[in-house]
Symmetry: C5
């Protein structure tokens, strides 16, 4: 059972690697010629400060007409589990670069932001706790001057809170330009890292409590698994810091400069996540070292007991063996006081050994 | 008992994490809708070089009128254990950004400085020794052109010395602008890190003395706990260095440039704290390595004793065993000199073994 | 069998070192005066958007005439397994610097890009899985305003997919300038790193599965070999990141600026490779630590069993030995209940020992 | 006895920490209100290229008159073991900033240079070997356009060589401006680090020689102590590199630009010291690893001997034990050849065991 | 014998340290007042593209007249094993700074380049394999607009290849300005590092082959020595990279800018050397870890054998001991089937133990 998170992680990455290996030699920006999965779900929210209309275009049909914005409307297009066919149609409609489409279609991109003439695309990995392990799901956010497209796989409910907040007429999300919606979505993804941290800290506290007690191989194995989780999380978050920092420096034209403060807020949160992840690594290393030293300690104790017992009794047994020999001529044996004297000598040797051990502080 | 500092740390962070997780999906800058705690304490010091008046507004009432400054007065507002209600009212009065209020309300922010149009807010973590562990308490310092607001939780007495120094008419604190008060408060927080360092060094000296003697699991456990303390301290101080350095570079307009020298002084102190913390880490690692090697050494010694005793007596016992066999026809047994000869052989074997050990430098 | 990858790597590097050592003292840019190998293979593809003609000049002859471009044609010259003679003739024709020729002739250059007045030369190492190990083959790409020369050894089939794509009339490769062909070739080299990664992850998953089970020296040895592979891969890829980044910053005049996006795509891929390689290192270190702690655990278990058995039976054997002595006067021996009493005492001692072990949690 | 250097270091730092803790809450730049120690010694050297007059002002009196320079004279003021009273008077006379005075009075500042309007103050730590340990003494050098003040504690003889060189009429020190004297003093401090290095290398060579031989706990302890010394030295020198580099970049107005070459010379020396210190760390780590592996090796050897002996004789003893049993009906016992056959079997088992060990390469 | 490289290194450094310590307090740029060694050897090569004349001035005499260049001649002055007297005379003639002379005279300078008004001086450490260890010899190259001075100790034959190449009339060395000669000399020094690398890789391959087999203390010791060699090499080369990089950026006026490409070539070689050195470190660490884990493995095996044998026979011996007791009333002893029953029980116990071990996978 243990190691499942890690194995899951490795397996999952290998799948995405195999897909990549299969495409070696194709021109960049090539989408795979796959069957339409039929699973794609589109939801378009057209909103102004006062109006909101929700359209659910049929992904298998010619939905372009349905994506037309009316005057003054902003659009949030939610795309779930899109296949290559739908992505191509979206790419045509929004004039997305083929390389963007390729990124949208893959599921294990490193967090990054790419800048195009009239849009910006940010790839992040959202985390969710599932069956006791941290899994991640790629989220792509494409933001233009009056639209945001969010592209997700397998984790559609992630943006539910924003869905709800945008219902509020004349709310901030409705009044601000599309960059504010983008920040809200990004902020939500980052907030979910705190759930993962919370899970990790719960495990850490549990391990810390048990680790002080005694050496157990199961603790070491749990340390190993948790180390994988922490490393996984770290890998998702650390590149994100640079992504946000660079976005702040190279703010696209269609972003409102006074809203940069929300970007900085997200940046602060990411730095906090990274900070805690580093704390976790250090604590975990501490627990590991403690356990190793405890293993040492227990081995020393075991060996000490063995040595004390052996060292006392082996010489005594030898003496007993000597007087168990069957030689005809062993004068001590016939002496009347032979037996008590030998017993006395044995006692003296035993006591001497004990004194020696006490002197060496082994007892 | 040991490990309490660490466990305290983890538990405390988990509480703050849980609070954060509970707020996932809320817009940034949202304060929790909590009960008024009634514990908030406000103290306003209005001062000029020559005058000083102290007002203690009732935090539960409408205290805005009481915060009005008279002509030429500067204000130091001390806020202790504020709840969300009071923070909102303060935010209205001083025109603080909602994100600032959110930071003021939380208690485990990473040290940082945020720049707003007419104020700067610095978050630091003040340390205090409590029950043998280093605890930290968040302090927020909001500084504008003629006011400083200090926001604290659970550790109101921290700024007592500044409270006393500001009583002195025509003292430096009274004559300078608000940036000087800000430096004084920050300096005090940094000074308290030296108490924590002093505690750590006391522990280190004690461990060093014991560690040279012999291997003890209790030393390793104390190393583990102290390592947690040092790491904790490091985490509070290292981001502060960057905070101060950046403040020096991007000095706000309402800071007096000739006072920058005091900022540099604080910077020097922080660098010294970090420097010592790094020394502590290295020393602790040294103690740990020494203990591990000592464990090795003791194990080697124990094994050597066991091996010497076993190696001498096991063959001798075997010989005794041979002559303890009950075969009818064992000619040696009936020989008159059998017994002394066997004893002599045994002595020779024992002596040979001892010589062998001496040759191998085991004795 | 194990360690072959590493040994291969070391041996191979030593050969290239020996060649270098043999040339100490020669002026830079000196090609060795070697026999013509006769193995050189040249293939020139002259193409415009609409036309394509393929020429295979005889490398041993005077092929310069065959390399003349017609008006508007671009050239991709594929050079395989070139000897010094051919390189010199190519250098004359394309006016390559002697230092470039020296680099082309060597086979173990670190990835780099050198800038000359009218061409740019990029050295990369392409990987291929062979007999279960990652081997690398140097590829040099010389790109001018209307030509690309690719120089390879032993791995001519690498660029087959591009060879096929360039056949398509009016395809992108045919319409774009030579920089696009250069990107396509570089991209292919980088894509092949994903095959190597895939191989590494397969091994890692296998090791992870086995490592959780128990300590085995064969796992440690496989970790050692895989560590060599990962390190090898890392060494090929990490300098490449800098090479690409610098090319983006100092884009030569004859590169089309709007194509830079493809360079960035390659850069993203390289960063992903590096990212995964770092993950592999960490996972491998985790497996190693886990195995070491498992070795510890098993040793502890073995010692505990030994100690328990010895500690119980050694004292009992001693008692049996005492009553096996042949003294004439041993009153207990003649007592009727002597034997059962001694057996009872032995049982009590044994039970006591077991209780002691259970108390110490050894059982 | 061992560990004294470290303990000394810790104790000494704790004293300086306690002093600092005692001053928490005081305004920056506050000197302690201490008793005049009476130990302060002042020596003023007024010099031109041709003239030199030495004055020893009475530190307890009003010495300001004695510090007046005549026309064209430069001043080197040597201050030894100054108390707060004297520092305050000096501060008045030379218009030193209170923060400078605070730095002069403390004794464990990190190396740094502070820039003021008409002077520069550099704090360094000079080392001296004392009783087999490296101790450090703070030296402050204040340099203005025509004066240098050196402030020391407990180590007045440090600058004796400069004292002697300045006696030479028309020597370089006499002709150059005060920056040259400053360089000379700084250079001397840096030169003394080479003595400390020399001490460390002597110890290292000794340890290296012994460490190759065999594992000894005393070596490990000496490694521990030497590691403390090296770390101590490192901490003194590494910040100094940055101090000098920055001084070179931001050369004050009253420094002669052509003399910068002497600053670079000092910089080179510091880099050399750091370089060697890093070498020492690496060598020490090598010795430590070697010793640990040697401990392993010896333990393996001890265990191998124990195992060989036990494994041979324990089964033999068992056989002897079987035939020492007193059963009435043991047919072998009465057989005439029983005894020699059993002896033969024992011999065969012993020989078989030895063969087994040889096969396993344990012998 | 082992460790000689290291000891040699330490001893050699200590000598150079002692010399430095002896000079503490002297003004910078002071040469020691030593006896003329008489060993100095001078060789001046005056050359133009068409002419070459070689002069060997007598170092003990007044050789200045012999160093006069004729119109248009460039000079390469080779100085071997120079004493302070000769250096002073050279310094006068070429107007070298005293600090340069000091650097020329020392023999363990860190690689560096110093810039003076009309010359540049580069210090490097050339390596040579001697008696199985890597030794280094300082080389100083002083280059002005029309002269190069090379100053060496103990390793005069290093520049023989350049000596030969400069004989060729109208060769590149003869036609180019002095910077090209400087590059050629520097390139030769760097090329020799590849010999050292080759030596290290040979050792590594040997160790790798042996290390896979089994744990041997001699391997660990060889790893230790090789680690010293690698570290030594690293220390010589790493500062050189920075030296070359800076020279490229701050190219002196009298260097020909088109020749910078040769400097870049040298830079590439240095980066390759560093790259390989890092590979060696990693490989060596891998071998070390492998050996440690192998030691563990062997210890585990030894202990397992001991435990199996002891655990089987100790209880059996106890049983034999019980029936060897001499009690009068032991009913089993007189039973006819006692002996075979006990033997059977013993067999059963032994078989049970074996089954237990097999279950635990110890067999």
């Amino acid at each position: 059972m243990q190691g499942t998170a890690l194995k899951h992680g490795i397996k999952w990455r290998r799948d995405s690697l195999k897909e990549r290996v299969a495409r070696i030699g194709l021109p960049p920006g090539t989408l795979p010629v796959e069957q339409s999965t039929g699973a794609t779900h589109l939801q378009a929210l057209f909103y102004t400060a006062n109006t909101l209309r929700t359209v659910e275009p049929d992904a298998t049909g010619a939905f372009k007409q349905q994506l037309k914005r009316r005057r003054g409307e902003k659009l949030w297009l939610r795309v779930a589990d899109a296949d290559a066919h739908v992505l191509k149609k979206l790419g045509d409609f929004f004039e997305l670069h083929p390389l963007t489409l390729e990124d949208l279609h893959s599921r294990d991109q490193r967090p990054k932001t790419d800048y195009y003439e009239n849009y910006v695309v940010t790839i992040v990995q959202a985390t969710r706790m599932e069956a006791g392990t941290i899994r991640h799901y790629q989220v792509a956010l494409i933001v233009g001057s009056d639209f945001v497209i969010s592209v997700q796989y397998n984790y559609a409910e992630l943006f539910q809170p924003i869905q709800e907040r945008i219902q509020v007429p004349r709310g901030r999300l409705r009044k601000e330009r599309s960059d504010y919606l983008y920040y809200a979505l990004l902020d939500l993804v980052v907030d979910h890292y705190f759930s993962a941290l919370s899970y990790v800290e719960e495990r850490l506290e549990e391990l810390e409590t048990r680790a002080v007690g005694r050496y157990q191989q199961s603790i070491i194995q749990k340390v190993h698994v948790l180390r994988g989780d922490i490393f996984h999380l770290r890998r998702l978050v650390i590149p994100l810091r640079e992504v946000i920092r660079r976005l702040e420096v190279e703010l696209p034209d269609f972003f409102v400069s006074k809203n940069v403060i929300y970007l900085r807020d997200i940046y602060d949160h990411i730095v906090q996540v990274i900070d805690r992840v580093e704390v976790h690594r250090e604590l975990l290393a501490g627990i590991y070292d403690l356990q190793l030293s405890m293993a040492n300690y227990e081995l020393n104790n075991v060996m000490r007991v063995l040595t004390i017992i052996s060292t006392i009794f082996i010489p005594l047994s030898f003496i007993a063996g000597v007087y168990g020999m069957n030689f005809d001529h062993m004068p001590e044996i016939h002496s009347y006081y032979g037996y008590p004297i030998v017993l006395g000598v044995m006692l003296a040797i035993g006591a001497g050994m004990l004194a020696f051990f006490r002197m060496r502080k082994w007892l």
